[in-house]
């Protein structure tokens, strides 16, 4: 009996962590979808059976759905008003409209809820926007209870210019099915009271959904090659020339798929044994303070659907995918799925490039990058690494892209930069042409202008000043995280990111949740930092405004010292004065490196609290130069050039680049003048 009791206790003890294991995906939603693609009319006819389980202790009286294809319904939708009918410079063609029409929303007893369903516009009150549907329920769903709904719908895909749609025979099918929004219980993301979090489809944001299981059957003409989220579990060819592909995936919150008869299909495997060295395991284990065994990765099947005109880039795509799988797996935890599908959209579908869905991403490249020297432009690598990083920041840590886009795009950009720099070096991370190199840091500096002072990093994606979203969602967050890395050290930063990923995997964190993890793991109160650079629109810009030196001591001939500028007596002492200015609003401590004319160096730390300060030194040698942030520890600094000043002018840079300018102007003139 005692033995039995011990066994029972051991089993309970063993099962307790499993129950509390936050890495187990919840199944809040369970979709079973059947869809048929009409490749001529570019239409979808679908039916879905969805079971929703109430994750809260509330009684829920309605369901909210995303009907995001309706963003392409007219030029009066919120997406169109915000975007002007374009995305990343790609414009909506005149005949490219798309929409979703629901046919029925039935309960298990057959009752159709469509007549009582209403379109809602929670973000802007735009009555022409039909991207959010609220369905009142005749019977509320109790806490922990479930409800099953059957929906039939018919949709027309838009011509792809923004994220989803078709281009000739290429289809990227995203945001295509009626998708349940997120019911946030009280306490989640700082909510006082539980409720639905459902936003309209915006120009700059589209993702926030709950985890669950997707079981999807897609019927397309048999000549088409299909790729989709999850694992293919079946393919049934029909006598009418169509085939139904069956895909299943658990632990995801969205489902995307593609079809194109021209795809060149390539399969490969990321092998944890072959593609990760023992040194890489050991080094990461030391950095993260974990055992090597706890970091072990799993094999992943990679399926690449490539355009025939870009097959020379297949190896680059696969290498980039393996690079990302390896490093993000080591840094943030293993990728929990068995497959990764990579899609290469054709040249006339740039709007489909660089998209992320769970276990399914799209690349971005162009045929010219097939060959030297443009093969050294690492656009395909960067896009693949970036979109794969979304598997962690959006896919697994499912932050709210609408309300806090930096937790999604910003973390992804930071991760991408880390992996790309590790693989390709810091000097020429993105472009490595013989006479033109561009690093990740270069790109960040280019975008980090002192003019960006009107928005905050942490604000809803549709509320940024015109044109400012990319900076505040992608670049500034990356700079914030890079600066944080310098503040707390690489090792602590790696542990912060790992802990944040593990603690919030399969959940919906807010910025505050990240602040908590960062402060806790680094053992520093970092809220002051985040409140300045994330929650407020402050910029960082330090400037060495002036550097002056005057002789203060002279000696007669024969005294060892320097000759005064006017000649005559030798100078034995100098008074040097450096004025430093804080041009930005953000207060951060900064280092100042003083270099004296005799080569001596001195480091001074300024707390940056005042708007400016003067540092005066008296000694036998004048200060020759003063450089702020000599270790590049403040990537957030919006102007690096003004970080230093020297006493004597140096015209080498001006001469060197003026000579080059002269050379090229001369050749323009030679071409036009003779």
């Amino acid at each position: 009996m005692l033995r039995l009791l011990i066994v029972a206790l051991v089993l309970l003890a063993g099962s307790a962590p499993a129950l509390a294991d936050q890495s187990s995906p919840p199944r809040t939603v369970d979709y079973r979808i059947d869809v048929r693609l009409d490749v001529v009319k570019k239409e979808l006819t679908g039916s879905e059976h969805v079971v929703w389980t109430n994750p809260s202790t509330d009684t829920v009286t309605d369901l909210w759905f995303h009907l995001y294809l309706n963003a392409f319904r007219s030029d009066r939708t919120t997406f169109f008003k915000e975007s002007g009918g374009q995305l990343r410079g790609d414009y909506m063609p005149e005949d490219g409209w798309g929409w979703t029409d629901l046919k029925s929303i039935r309960l298990a007893d057959g009752m159709d809820l469509l007549p009582v369903a209403r379109f809602e516009q929670p973000d802007d009150g735009n009555g022409e926007d039909r991207t959010v549907l609220r369905v009142p329920l005749p019977q509320p769903v109790p806490a922990g209870g479930s409800i099953a709904i059957d929906i039939a719908w018919h949709a027309k895909l838009p011509k792809v210019f923004a994220r989803t749609g078709y281009a000739r025979d290429f289809f990227l099918v995203g945001q295509w099915f009626p998708k349940l929004a997120v019911y946030e219980p009280a306490g989640v993301r700082g909510r006082k009271v539980g409720g639905w979090n459902c936003h309209q489809f915006h120009a700059n944001s589209e993702f926030y959904a709950d985890f669950g299981r997707f079981d999807v059957r897609m019927t397309v003409p048999s000549t088409f090659i299909v790729g989709a989220t999850g694992e293919r579990v079946g393919a049934d060819a029909h006598p009418n020339g169509t085939t139904t592909y069956h895909y299943v995936q658990d632990g995801v919150h969205d489902f995307g798929w593609t079809a194109d008869p021209r795809f060149v299909e390539v399969t490969d495997t990321f092998s944890a044994a072959r593609d990760v060295t023992q040194d890489e395991y050991r080094h990461t284990a030391v950095t993260l303070g974990r055992s090597v065994d706890s970091l072990r990765l799993s094999d992943i099947s990679i399926r690449l659907l490539m355009q025939p005109g870009r097959t020379p880039q297949i190896a680059r795509y696969l290498a980039a995918a393996k690079l990302a799988i390896k490093w993000f797996g080591l840094w943030y935890g293993p990728y929990p799925y068995r497959t990764l599908t990579i899609v290469d959209p054709p040249s006339d579908a740039p709007g489909a490039e660089g998209m992320e869905y769970p276990t399914f991403i799209t690349g971005g490249t162009m045929p010219l990058l097939n060959w030297w020297p443009l093969s050294h432009v690492r656009e395909p690598e960067e896009v693949i690494v970036h979109e794969y990083a979304h598997q962690y920041w959006y896919g697994l840590v499912a932050s709210n892209e609408f309300e806090e886009p930096w937790l999604d795009e910003g973390f992804t950009s930071y991760s991408t930069g880390q992996a790309m720099e590790l693989a390709f070096g810091t000097a020429s991370t993105l472009i490595d042409l013989p006479f033109f190199k561009v690093s990740e840091r270069d790109l960040l500096r280019l975008t980090n202008s002192p003019e960006h002072r009107f928005d905050r990093v942490r604000q809803p994606a549709w509320t940024y000043s015109p044109g400012e979203y990319p900076f505040y969602a992608y670049e500034k967050p990356e700079l914030v995280l890079r600066t944080l890395e310098h503040m707390i050290g690489r090792q602590a930063m790696a542990r912060v990111m790992r802990t944040y990923q593990e603690r919030w995997r399969y959940r919906h964190p807010s910025s505050d949740d990240f602040y908590t993890v960062a402060s806790e793991v680094s053992n520093r109160d970092l809220r002051g930092y985040f409140s300045q650079v994330v929650d407020a629109p402050g910029i960082v810009d330090y400037d060495v405004s002036s550097l002056t030196s005057h002789p203060i001591g002279r000696a007669s001939a024969g005294t060892v010292g320097r000759t005064a500028p006017g000649g005559g007596e030798a100078v034995t002492a100098w008074r040097s004065k450096v004025v430093i200015t804080r041009r930005g609003d953000v207060i951060l401590p900064v280092q100042l490196l003083l270099t004296y004319a005799d080569g001596k160096r001195e480091r001074v730390t300024w707390d940056g609290r005042d708007r400016w300060t003067a540092i005066t030194r008296e000694g036998p040698s004048p200060i020759a130069s003063a450089v702020l942030d000599p270790d590049d520890a403040l990537p957030l600094d919006a102007n690096v050039l003004n970080n230093g000043r020297r006493k004597s002018p140096d015209v080498r840079v001006a001469s060197s680049w003026a000579a080059r300018w002269l050379f090229w102007v001369q050749h323009v003139i030679a071409g036009a003048g003779l």
């Binding site: 002192p450 050039l641 002018p649 080498r652 840079v653 050379f663 030679a670």
Partner: protein, 329 residues
């Protein structure tokens, strides 16, 4: 035959150019002076923004766009407008003076014996040459771009088939556009020869005459320009290799780099004069006096070697002017 004729004509033309060091020096100096005028404001701006800033020293090692952008952000006013003004001013001056430079060059080539440039010939031709160069070269550039764009569009289906299809489409579009551009550019050169030699009255007639000449010897023209391009690109690669081996981080090395730049600029002038000389030779060979009025009466693709004798002046040796109407204007 034609292939070797083009190459040997270019070589002969380069030989003639080399034997006229004063002409080459004058052309190079003129280009240098105009370019300097467009460079001085840039140098001043660079000096003002970088001389006292240690962070700018990165630019000695490699081009860094963010450092340039920081310098722009630090500047009061708009340096980009200043660059544009400097470049546009130099370009405008170049275009306006191009007729003088071309006429003087062709006149000097005709008088290979070393007679001074005939100022009257130059002034007589000015407006016609200006119209010819602006219209003709503008046409060449636009036609090349349109050809490339049109072919790229037409050959788009090749992109969908394979990577070699992409390569084929891009190569075809580029090659055909380059051919069109080279022919039309050469037509301007030959038109200028016709005008300077007093064989046509109007600018358009000159262009048509140039076009007719080029279309009579299309392979010769293409190979001539291809030889020019190869010689130029070869020199550019040598220059690039030289500069890469001498990182310009000190003032003496910067001066050495500038000297290498100028050596290349002189070589470019020599090559260009060589091309002009070869084109003038082709013209003289194809259209000996009396000038035929229809292409059927002239032999196709003759070896256009004429540099062994001086080109006759207008009115000499029975040479006559082509009337605009005769040339199709």
């Amino acid at each position: 035959m034609t292939r070797w004729a083009a190459f040997s004509e270019l070589r002969r033309g380069v030989g003639i150019a080399v034997r006229q060091p004063r002409l080459i020096a004058a052309l190079w100096l003129w280009q240098l002076v105009v370019a300097l005028a467009g460079t001085l404001p840039v140098f001043q701006w660079l000096r003002d923004t970088t001389a006292l800033r240690p962070a700018a020293d990165r630019l000695l090692v490699r081009f860094s766009l963010p450092d340039v952008v920081d310098a722009v952000r630090t500047t009061q006013g708009s340096p980009v407008a200043m660059w544009n003004a400097a470049l546009s001013g130099s370009l405008l001056l170049t275009v306006v003076t191009a007729p003088v430079v071309i006429a003087a060059t062709l006149d000097a080539l005709r008088d290979a014996g070393g007679e001074p440039v005939n100022a009257r010939t130059v002034s007589n031709c000015y407006w016609r040459l200006l119209r010819l160069t602006v219209f003709g070269r503008g046409t060449a550039i636009v036609a090349a771009i349109l050809t490339a764009a049109g072919l790229a569009l037409a050959l788009r289906p090749l992109h969908d088939r394979s990577s070699s299809g992409v390569l084929l489409a891009l190569s075809l579009a580029g090659a055909v556009a380059a051919c069109i551009g080279a022919w039309l550019w050469a037509a301007v050169d030959v038109g200028a020869v016709a005008i300077v030699h007093g064989r046509v009255r109007g600018a358009f007639a000159g262009w048509v005459a140039g076009l007719r000449t080029v279309l009579r010897v299309p392979a010769f023209t293409l190979l001539l320009w291809a030889s020019f391009a190869v010689a130029l690109i070869g020199a550019l690669l040598l220059l690039a290799a030289g500069i890469a081996s001498l990182p310009a981080t000190t003032l003496p090395l910067i001066l050495l780099m500038a000297a290498l730049h100028q050596a290349f600029a002189v070589w470019r002038v020599v090559l260009r004069v060589g091309v002009l000389s070869a084109e003038a030779g082709a013209w003289m060979c194809l259209w000996p006096s009396p000038l035929p009025t229809s292409v059927e009466t002239t032999p196709a693709e003759p070896p256009p070697s004429v540099h062994h004798e001086e080109h006759p002046r207008p009115g000499q040796d029975g040479e006559r002017e082509i009337d605009d109407r005769e040339a199709g204007e």
